[in-house]
Amino acid sequence: MTISDTTVKPQSQSRGSLLLMLSRYGTFLAFLALIVFNIIVTPNFLSWQTLNVNLTQVATIVIVATGMTLVIATGGIDLSVGSLMAISGAVAPMIFMGTLFPINSPALAVALAFTIPILIAMGLGWFNGFLVTRFAIQPIVATLVLFIAGRGIAQVITNGNLQVFKNDIFQFIAMGRVAGIPTQVALMLVIAALAFCLIRFTVIGRQIIAVGGNEKAARLTGIPVRHVKTVVYVISGGLAGLAGLIVVARNSASDANLVGMGMELDAIAAVAVGGSLLTGGRANIIGTLLGALVIQLVRYTLLANGVPDAAALIVKAALIIIAVFIQQRADKS
Protein backbone atom coordinates (compact mmCIF):
# COMPACT_ATOMS: atom_id res chain seq x y z
CA MET A 1 0.00 0.00 0.00
CA THR A 2 1.32 3.39 -0.91
CA ILE A 3 0.58 5.94 1.69
CA SER A 4 2.13 9.16 0.62
CA ASP A 5 4.27 10.41 -2.12
CA THR A 6 7.30 11.36 -0.10
CA THR A 7 10.29 10.18 -1.97
CA VAL A 8 12.69 7.76 -0.41
CA LYS A 9 16.18 8.51 -1.51
CA PRO A 10 18.23 5.53 -2.50
CA GLN A 11 20.83 4.14 -0.15
CA SER A 12 23.94 6.15 -0.66
CA GLN A 13 26.34 4.05 1.35
CA SER A 14 29.27 2.82 -0.61
CA ARG A 15 31.15 0.00 1.01
CA GLY A 16 34.73 0.63 0.11
CA SER A 17 37.91 -1.14 0.91
CA LEU A 18 39.10 -1.68 4.44
CA LEU A 19 41.41 1.28 4.07
CA LEU A 20 38.57 3.51 3.06
CA MET A 21 36.61 2.41 6.06
CA LEU A 22 39.53 3.01 8.36
CA SER A 23 40.11 6.45 6.99
CA ARG A 24 36.65 7.36 8.18
CA TYR A 25 38.08 7.15 11.66
CA GLY A 26 39.97 10.21 12.70
CA THR A 27 41.82 8.04 15.14
CA PHE A 28 43.40 6.35 12.18
CA LEU A 29 44.75 9.69 11.02
CA ALA A 30 46.26 10.33 14.42
CA PHE A 31 47.74 6.86 14.31
CA LEU A 32 49.28 7.40 10.88
CA ALA A 33 50.65 10.76 11.94
CA LEU A 34 52.38 9.15 14.89
CA ILE A 35 53.90 6.43 12.71
CA VAL A 36 55.25 8.96 10.26
CA PHE A 37 56.63 11.06 13.08
CA ASN A 38 58.39 8.06 14.57
CA ILE A 39 59.85 6.95 11.27
CA ILE A 40 61.45 10.36 10.93
CA VAL A 41 62.49 10.95 14.51
CA THR A 42 62.84 7.75 16.49
CA PRO A 43 66.00 5.71 15.99
CA ASN A 44 65.52 2.12 14.79
CA PHE A 45 61.78 2.55 14.57
CA LEU A 46 61.30 0.52 11.42
CA SER A 47 62.03 -2.96 12.67
CA TRP A 48 60.17 -6.12 13.48
CA GLN A 49 61.25 -5.94 17.06
CA THR A 50 59.66 -2.51 17.44
CA LEU A 51 56.43 -3.88 16.09
CA ASN A 52 56.73 -6.83 18.38
CA VAL A 53 57.40 -4.70 21.44
CA ASN A 54 54.49 -2.40 20.76
CA LEU A 55 52.01 -5.09 19.91
CA THR A 56 52.84 -7.22 22.93
CA GLN A 57 52.69 -4.20 25.19
CA VAL A 58 49.36 -3.02 23.83
CA ALA A 59 47.71 -6.43 23.90
CA THR A 60 46.46 -6.30 27.47
CA ILE A 61 45.17 -2.77 27.07
CA VAL A 62 43.23 -3.78 23.97
CA ILE A 63 41.79 -6.84 25.64
CA VAL A 64 40.57 -4.88 28.64
CA ALA A 65 39.46 -1.93 26.53
CA THR A 66 37.34 -4.24 24.39
CA GLY A 67 35.32 -5.23 27.43
CA MET A 68 35.28 -1.61 28.50
CA THR A 69 33.87 -0.61 25.11
CA LEU A 70 30.92 -2.92 25.62
CA VAL A 71 30.30 -1.62 29.13
CA ILE A 72 30.55 1.96 27.97
CA ALA A 73 28.18 1.20 25.11
CA THR A 74 25.47 0.45 27.65
CA GLY A 75 26.14 3.80 29.28
CA GLY A 76 28.18 2.26 32.08
CA ILE A 77 31.82 2.25 33.05
CA ASP A 78 33.99 -0.33 34.75
CA LEU A 79 36.59 1.00 37.15
CA SER A 80 37.26 -2.42 38.61
CA VAL A 81 39.20 -3.93 35.70
CA GLY A 82 42.63 -3.29 37.20
CA SER A 83 41.64 -4.90 40.48
CA LEU A 84 40.13 -7.87 38.71
CA MET A 85 43.39 -8.31 36.82
CA ALA A 86 45.17 -8.38 40.15
CA ILE A 87 42.81 -10.98 41.54
CA SER A 88 43.02 -13.32 38.59
CA GLY A 89 46.76 -12.77 38.41
CA ALA A 90 47.03 -13.65 42.09
CA VAL A 91 44.91 -16.77 41.91
CA ALA A 92 46.41 -18.40 38.82
CA PRO A 93 49.90 -19.11 40.21
CA MET A 94 48.38 -20.35 43.44
CA ILE A 95 46.55 -22.97 41.42
CA PHE A 96 49.34 -24.33 39.28
CA MET A 97 51.84 -24.06 42.07
CA GLY A 98 49.47 -25.96 44.27
CA THR A 99 49.44 -23.40 47.07
CA LEU A 100 45.69 -23.42 47.10
CA PHE A 101 45.08 -27.13 46.86
CA PRO A 102 47.35 -29.87 45.64
CA ILE A 103 46.82 -30.96 42.05
CA ASN A 104 48.64 -34.00 40.80
CA SER A 105 48.48 -33.60 37.07
CA PRO A 106 50.43 -30.54 35.86
CA ALA A 107 48.29 -30.34 32.74
CA LEU A 108 45.14 -30.23 34.80
CA ALA A 109 46.72 -27.66 37.08
CA VAL A 110 47.48 -25.35 34.20
CA ALA A 111 44.06 -25.88 32.68
CA LEU A 112 42.49 -24.92 35.97
CA ALA A 113 44.90 -22.01 36.30
CA PHE A 114 43.44 -20.63 33.09
CA THR A 115 39.79 -21.24 33.81
CA ILE A 116 39.28 -20.63 37.51
CA PRO A 117 40.75 -17.12 37.64
CA ILE A 118 38.77 -16.05 34.61
CA LEU A 119 35.61 -17.54 36.08
CA ILE A 120 36.27 -15.68 39.32
CA ALA A 121 36.77 -12.45 37.41
CA MET A 122 33.56 -13.09 35.50
CA GLY A 123 31.80 -13.72 38.78
CA LEU A 124 33.02 -10.41 40.13
CA GLY A 125 31.95 -8.79 36.88
CA TRP A 126 28.54 -10.32 37.46
CA PHE A 127 28.58 -8.76 40.93
CA ASN A 128 29.23 -5.35 39.34
CA GLY A 129 26.33 -5.96 37.01
CA PHE A 130 24.17 -7.07 39.90
CA LEU A 131 24.80 -3.82 41.77
CA VAL A 132 24.10 -1.79 38.66
CA THR A 133 20.92 -3.57 37.64
CA ARG A 134 19.42 -4.67 40.91
CA PHE A 135 20.04 -1.60 43.01
CA ALA A 136 20.30 0.90 40.20
CA ILE A 137 23.63 2.05 41.60
CA GLN A 138 25.51 4.17 39.15
CA PRO A 139 28.17 2.14 37.38
CA ILE A 140 31.07 4.38 38.34
CA VAL A 141 30.23 3.91 42.00
CA ALA A 142 29.23 0.28 41.78
CA THR A 143 32.55 -0.60 40.20
CA LEU A 144 34.40 1.74 42.53
CA VAL A 145 33.56 -0.75 45.26
CA LEU A 146 35.64 -3.47 43.62
CA PHE A 147 38.19 -0.94 42.47
CA ILE A 148 38.94 -0.29 46.14
CA ALA A 149 38.22 -3.68 47.63
CA GLY A 150 39.36 -5.86 44.73
CA ARG A 151 43.04 -5.12 44.98
CA GLY A 152 42.76 -5.53 48.73
CA ILE A 153 41.27 -8.97 48.16
CA ALA A 154 44.13 -9.91 45.85
CA GLN A 155 46.60 -8.68 48.43
CA VAL A 156 44.87 -10.53 51.23
CA ILE A 157 44.89 -13.75 49.20
CA THR A 158 48.62 -13.47 48.63
CA ASN A 159 49.34 -11.61 51.85
CA GLY A 160 50.89 -9.00 49.61
CA ASN A 161 53.71 -11.31 48.67
CA LEU A 162 55.18 -11.63 45.27
CA GLN A 163 54.67 -15.05 43.70
CA VAL A 164 57.52 -16.01 41.47
CA PHE A 165 57.18 -18.96 39.16
CA LYS A 166 58.38 -20.65 36.04
CA ASN A 167 55.82 -22.68 34.13
CA ASP A 168 56.26 -22.88 30.39
CA ILE A 169 52.80 -24.18 29.55
CA PHE A 170 51.07 -21.48 31.55
CA GLN A 171 53.40 -18.81 30.26
CA PHE A 172 52.68 -19.78 26.68
CA ILE A 173 49.85 -17.29 26.86
CA ALA A 174 52.40 -14.49 27.05
CA MET A 175 55.69 -15.90 25.77
CA GLY A 176 54.54 -18.32 23.12
CA ARG A 177 53.81 -17.81 19.49
CA VAL A 178 50.91 -18.95 17.34
CA ALA A 179 51.79 -19.08 13.66
CA GLY A 180 54.66 -16.75 14.32
CA ILE A 181 52.47 -14.23 16.11
CA PRO A 182 52.97 -13.76 19.84
CA THR A 183 50.12 -15.50 21.63
CA GLN A 184 48.92 -12.41 23.42
CA VAL A 185 48.80 -10.48 20.16
CA ALA A 186 46.84 -13.28 18.55
CA LEU A 187 44.47 -13.30 21.50
CA MET A 188 44.05 -9.57 21.23
CA LEU A 189 43.16 -9.78 17.55
CA VAL A 190 40.74 -12.65 18.05
CA ILE A 191 39.00 -10.91 20.92
CA ALA A 192 38.71 -7.62 19.10
CA ALA A 193 37.35 -9.43 16.04
CA LEU A 194 34.83 -11.36 18.11
CA ALA A 195 33.67 -8.21 19.83
CA PHE A 196 33.39 -6.46 16.49
CA CYS A 197 31.16 -9.24 15.20
CA LEU A 198 29.20 -9.28 18.41
CA ILE A 199 28.35 -5.63 18.06
CA ARG A 200 27.82 -5.68 14.33
CA PHE A 201 25.98 -8.86 13.68
CA THR A 202 24.37 -10.31 16.75
CA VAL A 203 21.11 -9.56 18.44
CA ILE A 204 22.67 -9.03 21.83
CA GLY A 205 25.13 -6.62 20.24
CA ARG A 206 22.33 -4.47 18.91
CA GLN A 207 20.59 -4.70 22.24
CA ILE A 208 23.71 -3.48 24.04
CA ILE A 209 23.72 -0.39 21.89
CA ALA A 210 20.00 0.17 22.32
CA VAL A 211 20.25 -0.05 26.10
CA GLY A 212 22.97 2.57 26.08
CA GLY A 213 21.09 4.75 23.62
CA ASN A 214 17.78 4.86 25.47
CA GLU A 215 17.24 2.49 28.32
CA LYS A 216 13.56 3.21 28.76
CA ALA A 217 12.82 2.69 25.12
CA ALA A 218 14.90 -0.49 25.13
CA ARG A 219 12.86 -1.95 27.94
CA LEU A 220 9.65 -1.02 26.17
CA THR A 221 10.71 -2.97 23.13
CA GLY A 222 11.11 -6.05 25.25
CA ILE A 223 14.89 -6.00 25.54
CA PRO A 224 15.92 -7.69 28.79
CA VAL A 225 17.80 -4.64 29.99
CA ARG A 226 19.11 -6.13 33.19
CA HIS A 227 20.34 -9.22 31.46
CA VAL A 228 22.08 -7.23 28.76
CA LYS A 229 23.79 -4.99 31.27
CA THR A 230 24.87 -7.88 33.43
CA VAL A 231 26.33 -9.61 30.39
CA VAL A 232 28.60 -6.71 29.52
CA TYR A 233 30.00 -6.51 33.03
CA VAL A 234 30.62 -10.25 33.01
CA ILE A 235 32.42 -9.96 29.68
CA SER A 236 34.45 -7.03 30.92
CA GLY A 237 35.34 -8.93 34.07
CA GLY A 238 36.33 -12.02 32.13
CA LEU A 239 38.54 -10.08 29.74
CA ALA A 240 40.18 -8.28 32.64
CA GLY A 241 40.83 -11.67 34.19
CA LEU A 242 42.45 -12.87 30.98
CA ALA A 243 44.59 -9.74 30.81
CA GLY A 244 45.68 -10.39 34.39
CA LEU A 245 46.85 -13.87 33.41
CA ILE A 246 48.83 -12.49 30.51
CA VAL A 247 50.57 -9.91 32.67
CA VAL A 248 51.66 -12.38 35.35
CA ALA A 249 52.68 -14.94 32.75
CA ARG A 250 54.79 -12.36 30.98
CA ASN A 251 56.57 -11.39 34.17
CA SER A 252 57.00 -14.88 35.61
CA ALA A 253 55.69 -13.29 38.73
CA SER A 254 52.45 -12.19 40.21
CA ASP A 255 52.41 -9.04 42.26
CA ALA A 256 48.95 -8.34 43.60
CA ASN A 257 50.00 -4.83 44.49
CA LEU A 258 50.80 -3.74 40.98
CA VAL A 259 49.16 -5.99 38.39
CA GLY A 260 46.68 -3.93 36.43
CA MET A 261 47.45 -0.73 38.30
CA GLY A 262 45.94 2.19 36.43
CA MET A 263 44.57 -0.08 33.73
CA GLU A 264 41.08 1.38 34.03
CA LEU A 265 42.28 4.79 32.90
CA ASP A 266 44.28 3.39 29.99
CA ALA A 267 41.32 1.33 28.86
CA ILE A 268 38.84 4.18 29.17
CA ALA A 269 41.22 6.51 27.39
CA ALA A 270 41.58 3.97 24.57
CA VAL A 271 37.80 3.79 24.23
CA ALA A 272 37.44 7.55 24.23
CA VAL A 273 40.32 8.21 21.85
CA GLY A 274 38.74 5.54 19.67
CA GLY A 275 35.60 7.58 19.33
CA SER A 276 32.98 5.88 21.46
CA LEU A 277 31.00 8.32 23.52
CA LEU A 278 31.28 7.72 27.24
CA THR A 279 27.57 8.43 27.49
CA GLY A 280 26.76 5.16 25.81
CA GLY A 281 24.83 4.12 22.75
CA ARG A 282 27.88 3.51 20.62
CA ALA A 283 30.57 0.88 20.46
CA ASN A 284 33.41 1.31 18.08
CA ILE A 285 35.72 -1.66 18.47
CA ILE A 286 38.06 -0.76 15.62
CA GLY A 287 38.25 2.69 17.12
CA THR A 288 39.16 1.24 20.49
CA LEU A 289 41.88 -0.87 18.90
CA LEU A 290 43.27 2.19 17.17
CA GLY A 291 42.84 4.27 20.29
CA ALA A 292 44.90 1.80 22.31
CA LEU A 293 47.54 1.74 19.59
CA VAL A 294 47.70 5.52 19.60
CA ILE A 295 48.18 5.60 23.34
CA GLN A 296 50.82 2.89 23.15
CA LEU A 297 52.66 4.65 20.35
CA VAL A 298 52.62 7.91 22.25
CA ARG A 299 54.15 6.13 25.20
CA TYR A 300 56.75 4.42 23.05
CA THR A 301 57.63 7.62 21.24
CA LEU A 302 58.21 9.50 24.45
CA LEU A 303 60.27 6.69 25.97
CA ALA A 304 62.36 6.02 22.92
CA ASN A 305 63.18 9.66 22.48
CA GLY A 306 64.24 10.13 26.05
CA VAL A 307 61.62 12.68 26.97
CA PRO A 308 61.87 13.10 30.76
CA ASP A 309 58.98 11.56 32.61
CA ALA A 310 57.57 14.83 33.87
CA ALA A 311 57.57 16.38 30.43
CA ALA A 312 56.26 13.15 28.96
CA LEU A 313 53.12 13.47 31.06
CA ILE A 314 52.42 16.86 29.57
CA VAL A 315 53.06 15.72 26.02
CA LYS A 316 50.86 12.68 26.56
CA ALA A 317 48.05 14.90 27.78
CA ALA A 318 48.34 17.14 24.77
CA LEU A 319 48.43 14.20 22.39
CA ILE A 320 45.32 12.64 23.90
CA ILE A 321 43.43 15.89 23.49
CA ILE A 322 44.67 16.36 19.96
CA ALA A 323 43.85 12.79 18.97
CA VAL A 324 40.32 13.02 20.33
CA PHE A 325 39.88 16.39 18.70
CA ILE A 326 41.04 15.20 15.28
CA GLN A 327 38.86 12.16 15.54
CA GLN A 328 35.79 14.22 16.39
CA ARG A 329 36.46 16.58 13.52
CA ALA A 330 36.89 13.73 11.09
CA ASP A 331 33.74 12.01 12.28
CA LYS A 332 31.74 15.14 11.71
CA SER A 333 32.79 15.82 8.14
Partner: protein
Protein backbone atom coordinates in the same frame (compact mmCIF):
# COMPACT_ATOMS: atom_id res chain seq x y z
CA UNK B 1 64.57 17.67 73.63
CA UNK B 2 63.28 14.29 72.69
CA UNK B 3 60.53 13.15 75.05
CA UNK B 4 61.52 10.48 77.52
CA UNK B 5 60.34 6.90 77.36
CA UNK B 6 59.38 5.16 80.60
CA UNK B 7 60.60 1.64 81.19
CA UNK B 8 57.70 -0.78 80.95
CA UNK B 9 57.11 -4.45 80.31
CA UNK B 10 54.71 -3.95 77.48
CA UNK B 11 54.53 -0.98 75.20
CA UNK B 12 51.98 0.26 72.77
CA UNK B 13 54.02 1.43 69.81
CA UNK B 14 52.99 2.89 66.51
CA UNK B 15 54.45 2.02 63.16
CA UNK B 16 53.50 4.39 60.36
CA UNK B 17 54.33 2.67 57.10
CA UNK B 18 54.29 4.67 53.85
CA UNK B 19 52.90 2.06 51.53
CA UNK B 20 52.84 -1.66 51.00
CA UNK B 21 52.86 -2.11 47.30
CA UNK B 22 56.26 -3.71 46.86
CA UNK B 23 58.05 -6.70 48.29
CA UNK B 24 60.59 -4.54 50.08
CA UNK B 25 57.98 -2.66 52.07
CA UNK B 26 56.14 -5.84 52.84
CA UNK B 27 59.30 -7.41 54.18
CA UNK B 28 59.89 -4.35 56.32
CA UNK B 29 56.37 -4.41 57.74
CA UNK B 30 56.58 -8.12 58.46
CA UNK B 31 59.86 -7.67 60.25
CA UNK B 32 58.38 -4.95 62.46
CA UNK B 33 55.27 -6.99 63.19
CA UNK B 34 57.16 -10.14 64.00
CA UNK B 35 59.50 -8.43 66.40
CA UNK B 36 56.65 -6.65 68.17
CA UNK B 37 54.81 -9.92 68.48
CA UNK B 38 57.86 -11.64 69.87
CA UNK B 39 58.23 -8.94 72.51
CA UNK B 40 54.51 -9.01 73.21
CA UNK B 41 54.13 -5.31 72.40
CA UNK B 42 50.95 -3.92 70.95
CA UNK B 43 51.68 -2.53 67.51
CA UNK B 44 49.45 0.17 66.05
CA UNK B 45 50.11 -0.18 62.35
CA UNK B 46 49.02 2.31 59.71
CA UNK B 47 49.60 2.43 56.00
CA UNK B 48 49.67 5.77 54.22
CA UNK B 49 49.17 4.24 50.78
CA UNK B 50 51.88 6.44 49.33
CA UNK B 51 50.52 9.74 50.58
CA UNK B 52 52.67 11.91 52.81
CA UNK B 53 49.63 13.86 53.91
CA UNK B 54 47.80 10.73 54.96
CA UNK B 55 50.87 9.58 56.80
CA UNK B 56 50.77 12.73 58.90
CA UNK B 57 47.12 12.08 59.62
CA UNK B 58 48.03 8.50 60.57
CA UNK B 59 50.67 9.71 63.00
CA UNK B 60 48.15 12.13 64.46
CA UNK B 61 45.69 9.33 65.08
CA UNK B 62 48.45 7.39 66.83
CA UNK B 63 49.07 10.40 69.01
CA UNK B 64 45.37 10.58 69.77
CA UNK B 65 45.44 6.93 70.77
CA UNK B 66 48.30 7.61 73.16
CA UNK B 67 51.05 5.30 71.91
CA UNK B 68 54.34 5.22 73.79
CA UNK B 69 56.64 5.57 70.83
CA UNK B 70 56.26 5.99 67.09
CA UNK B 71 58.30 4.30 64.39
CA UNK B 72 57.92 6.41 61.30
CA UNK B 73 59.04 5.41 57.83
CA UNK B 74 58.59 8.86 56.35
CA UNK B 75 57.31 8.96 52.84
CA UNK B 76 59.12 12.21 52.18
CA UNK B 77 61.66 14.44 53.83
CA UNK B 78 59.76 17.67 54.16
CA UNK B 79 56.04 16.98 54.44
CA UNK B 80 56.52 14.68 57.43
CA UNK B 81 58.00 17.42 59.60
CA UNK B 82 54.58 18.33 61.05
CA UNK B 83 54.11 14.73 62.16
CA UNK B 84 57.46 14.67 63.91
CA UNK B 85 56.71 17.98 65.61
CA UNK B 86 53.23 16.96 66.66
CA UNK B 87 54.57 13.81 68.29
CA UNK B 88 57.23 15.78 70.08
CA UNK B 89 54.64 18.19 71.34
CA UNK B 90 52.52 15.30 72.57
CA UNK B 91 55.51 13.87 74.44
CA UNK B 92 55.99 10.84 72.23
CA UNK B 93 59.47 9.93 70.98
CA UNK B 94 59.85 9.18 67.29
CA UNK B 95 62.32 6.87 65.57
CA UNK B 96 62.67 7.30 61.82
CA UNK B 97 63.13 4.25 59.66
CA UNK B 98 64.78 3.93 56.25
CA UNK B 99 64.15 7.50 55.12
CA UNK B 100 64.90 10.68 57.03
CA UNK B 101 63.27 14.06 57.34
CA UNK B 102 64.69 17.42 56.35
CA UNK B 103 67.69 18.00 58.65
CA UNK B 104 67.24 21.75 58.41
CA UNK B 105 63.83 21.54 60.02
CA UNK B 106 64.11 18.70 62.48
CA UNK B 107 67.17 17.32 64.21
CA UNK B 108 67.99 13.94 65.58
CA UNK B 109 68.33 13.89 69.33
CA UNK B 110 66.22 17.01 69.51
CA UNK B 111 63.01 16.65 67.55
CA UNK B 112 63.20 12.94 66.99
CA UNK B 113 65.28 10.25 68.56
CA UNK B 114 67.28 8.83 65.71
CA UNK B 115 67.30 7.60 62.16
CA UNK B 116 67.83 3.94 61.34
CA UNK B 117 68.39 2.99 57.75
CA UNK B 118 70.51 3.04 54.68
CA UNK B 119 71.95 5.87 52.71
CA UNK B 120 70.31 5.85 49.30
CA UNK B 121 72.94 8.11 47.76
CA UNK B 122 75.61 5.78 49.01
CA UNK B 123 73.81 2.83 47.45
CA UNK B 124 73.94 4.50 44.06
CA UNK B 125 77.61 5.28 44.58
CA UNK B 126 78.44 1.69 45.51
CA UNK B 127 76.85 0.42 42.31
CA UNK B 128 78.81 2.97 40.30
CA UNK B 129 82.08 2.09 42.00
CA UNK B 130 81.63 -1.58 41.23
CA UNK B 131 80.76 -0.77 37.64
CA UNK B 132 83.82 1.38 37.11
CA UNK B 133 85.95 -1.57 38.13
CA UNK B 134 84.07 -4.32 36.34
CA UNK B 135 82.73 -2.69 33.20
CA UNK B 136 85.02 -4.62 30.87
CA UNK B 137 84.77 -2.02 28.17
CA UNK B 138 81.03 -1.59 28.42
CA UNK B 139 80.07 2.09 28.52
CA UNK B 140 76.54 2.81 27.40
CA UNK B 141 74.08 2.85 30.28
CA UNK B 142 70.31 2.62 30.39
CA UNK B 143 69.05 3.75 33.79
CA UNK B 144 65.67 2.55 35.05
CA UNK B 145 64.57 5.06 37.64
CA UNK B 146 62.19 4.47 40.49
CA UNK B 147 58.88 6.24 40.85
CA UNK B 148 59.27 9.81 39.69
CA UNK B 149 59.59 12.09 42.67
CA UNK B 150 60.24 9.36 45.25
CA UNK B 151 63.30 10.08 47.37
CA UNK B 152 65.05 6.70 46.90
CA UNK B 153 64.71 7.23 43.16
CA UNK B 154 66.16 10.72 43.36
CA UNK B 155 69.00 9.67 45.66
CA UNK B 156 69.93 6.46 43.88
CA UNK B 157 70.07 8.43 40.68
CA UNK B 158 72.10 11.21 42.22
CA UNK B 159 74.66 8.92 43.86
CA UNK B 160 75.13 6.82 40.74
CA UNK B 161 75.10 9.58 38.16
CA UNK B 162 77.61 11.72 40.01
CA UNK B 163 80.01 8.87 40.67
CA UNK B 164 79.80 7.71 37.06
CA UNK B 165 80.44 11.18 35.79
CA UNK B 166 83.41 11.57 38.06
CA UNK B 167 84.85 8.31 36.79
CA UNK B 168 84.47 9.37 33.17
CA UNK B 169 84.21 7.22 30.06
CA UNK B 170 80.59 6.22 30.57
CA UNK B 171 77.48 7.53 28.94
CA UNK B 172 73.92 7.33 30.21
CA UNK B 173 72.04 6.97 26.93
CA UNK B 174 68.60 6.89 28.46
CA UNK B 175 67.11 7.30 31.90
CA UNK B 176 63.41 6.72 32.40
CA UNK B 177 61.10 5.78 35.23
CA UNK B 178 59.97 2.19 35.61
CA UNK B 179 57.99 2.96 38.75
CA UNK B 180 59.93 0.43 40.87
CA UNK B 181 57.71 -2.20 39.22
CA UNK B 182 58.59 -5.33 37.31
CA UNK B 183 56.01 -4.98 34.55
CA UNK B 184 56.61 -1.29 33.97
CA UNK B 185 60.36 -1.82 34.22
CA UNK B 186 60.18 -4.49 31.55
CA UNK B 187 58.06 -2.38 29.22
CA UNK B 188 60.33 0.62 29.56
CA UNK B 189 63.41 -1.53 29.07
CA UNK B 190 61.88 -3.06 25.95
CA UNK B 191 61.34 0.35 24.43
CA UNK B 192 64.73 1.71 25.46
CA UNK B 193 66.66 -1.32 24.25
CA UNK B 194 64.91 -0.99 20.95
CA UNK B 195 65.74 2.68 20.61
CA UNK B 196 69.30 2.22 21.86
CA UNK B 197 70.58 -1.08 20.50
CA UNK B 198 74.11 -0.09 21.42
CA UNK B 199 73.38 0.08 25.15
CA UNK B 200 75.30 -2.53 27.11
CA UNK B 201 74.59 -1.70 30.76
CA UNK B 202 71.27 -1.51 32.58
CA UNK B 203 71.21 0.09 36.01
CA UNK B 204 67.88 -0.39 37.78
CA UNK B 205 66.94 1.39 40.98
CA UNK B 206 65.50 -1.79 42.45
CA UNK B 207 65.38 -5.56 41.97
CA UNK B 208 61.92 -5.65 40.49
CA UNK B 209 62.82 -3.42 37.58
CA UNK B 210 66.09 -5.26 37.09
CA UNK B 211 64.20 -8.54 36.77
CA UNK B 212 61.80 -6.92 34.34
CA UNK B 213 64.74 -5.62 32.35
CA UNK B 214 66.30 -9.08 32.18
CA UNK B 215 63.24 -10.49 30.50
CA UNK B 216 63.22 -7.52 28.11
CA UNK B 217 66.87 -8.20 27.27
CA UNK B 218 66.12 -11.84 26.64
CA UNK B 219 63.11 -10.96 24.49
CA UNK B 220 65.37 -8.73 22.41
CA UNK B 221 67.56 -11.75 21.75
CA UNK B 222 70.48 -10.70 23.93
CA UNK B 223 72.12 -12.36 26.87
CA UNK B 224 71.89 -10.58 30.20
CA UNK B 225 75.20 -10.58 32.00
CA UNK B 226 77.09 -11.08 28.77
CA UNK B 227 75.82 -8.69 26.12
CA UNK B 228 74.29 -6.42 28.67
CA UNK B 229 75.38 -5.96 32.23
CA UNK B 230 72.55 -5.59 34.75
CA UNK B 231 72.96 -3.78 38.08
CA UNK B 232 70.45 -3.43 40.84
CA UNK B 233 69.73 -2.31 44.37
CA UNK B 234 67.77 -4.05 47.18
CA UNK B 235 69.31 -7.52 47.18
CA UNK B 236 66.26 -9.69 47.65
CA UNK B 237 66.60 -13.44 47.32
CA UNK B 238 65.41 -13.55 43.73
CA UNK B 239 67.95 -10.94 42.66
CA UNK B 240 70.81 -12.58 44.52
CA UNK B 241 69.83 -15.82 42.81
CA UNK B 242 70.15 -14.04 39.48
CA UNK B 243 73.61 -12.88 40.47
CA UNK B 244 74.46 -16.53 41.06
CA UNK B 245 73.09 -17.29 37.58
CA UNK B 246 75.23 -14.52 36.18
CA UNK B 247 72.30 -12.55 34.86
CA UNK B 248 72.76 -9.70 37.29
CA UNK B 249 76.26 -8.33 37.64
CA UNK B 250 76.01 -6.86 41.07
CA UNK B 251 73.39 -5.82 43.56
CA UNK B 252 73.62 -3.58 46.60
CA UNK B 253 71.60 -4.74 49.55
CA UNK B 254 69.10 -2.47 51.18
CA UNK B 255 67.91 -4.58 54.03
CA UNK B 256 64.28 -4.27 55.00
CA UNK B 257 64.59 -6.23 58.24
CA UNK B 258 64.32 -3.31 60.58
CA UNK B 259 62.45 -4.99 63.40
CA UNK B 260 65.22 -6.21 65.69
CA UNK B 261 67.34 -3.10 65.43
CA UNK B 262 64.38 -0.75 65.81
CA UNK B 263 63.02 -2.37 68.95
CA UNK B 264 66.47 -2.82 70.40
CA UNK B 265 67.13 0.89 69.99
CA UNK B 266 63.84 1.62 71.68
CA UNK B 267 64.77 -0.56 74.63
CA UNK B 268 68.16 1.09 74.92
CA UNK B 269 66.51 4.47 75.01
CA UNK B 270 64.05 3.43 77.68
CA UNK B 271 66.98 2.30 79.79
CA UNK B 272 68.34 5.80 79.50
CA UNK B 273 71.19 5.13 77.10
CA UNK B 274 72.34 7.88 74.81
CA UNK B 275 71.35 7.11 71.21
CA UNK B 276 73.49 8.04 68.21
CA UNK B 277 71.71 10.44 65.79
CA UNK B 278 72.16 8.03 62.87
CA UNK B 279 72.21 4.25 62.81
CA UNK B 280 73.24 3.20 59.34
CA UNK B 281 72.49 -0.40 58.42
CA UNK B 282 75.56 -2.16 57.19
CA UNK B 283 74.21 -3.37 53.90
CA UNK B 284 75.82 -6.17 52.00
CA UNK B 285 77.06 -6.13 48.45
CA UNK B 286 76.54 -9.13 46.22
CA UNK B 287 78.42 -10.01 43.07
CA UNK B 288 79.66 -13.21 41.53
CA UNK B 289 82.34 -13.45 44.20
CA UNK B 290 80.00 -13.93 47.13
CA UNK B 291 76.46 -14.40 45.84
CA UNK B 292 76.41 -18.17 46.08
CA UNK B 293 77.58 -18.15 49.63
CA UNK B 294 75.25 -15.39 50.74
CA UNK B 295 72.17 -16.57 48.87
CA UNK B 296 70.70 -18.32 51.88
CA UNK B 297 71.03 -15.22 54.00
CA UNK B 298 69.36 -12.84 51.55
CA UNK B 299 65.91 -11.69 52.59
Amino acid sequence: DVPKLKQKDKYKVGFAQTESNNPWRIAQTNSMKETAEKLGYQLVYTDAAGSAAKQVADVNSMIAQGVDLIFLAPREEKPLIPAVMAAKKAGIPVILLDRSVDPKLAKAGEDYLTFIGSDFIKEGQRVAEWLVKNANGKTKIIELEGTTGASPANDRKKGFDEAIKAAGGFEIVASQSGDFARDKGRQVAEALLQAHPDADIVYAHNDEMAIGAISAIEAAGKVPGKDILVLSIDGGKEAVGLVVDGKIGAVVECNPRFGPKAFETMARYAKGEKIEPKLINDDKFYDSSNAKAELAGAY
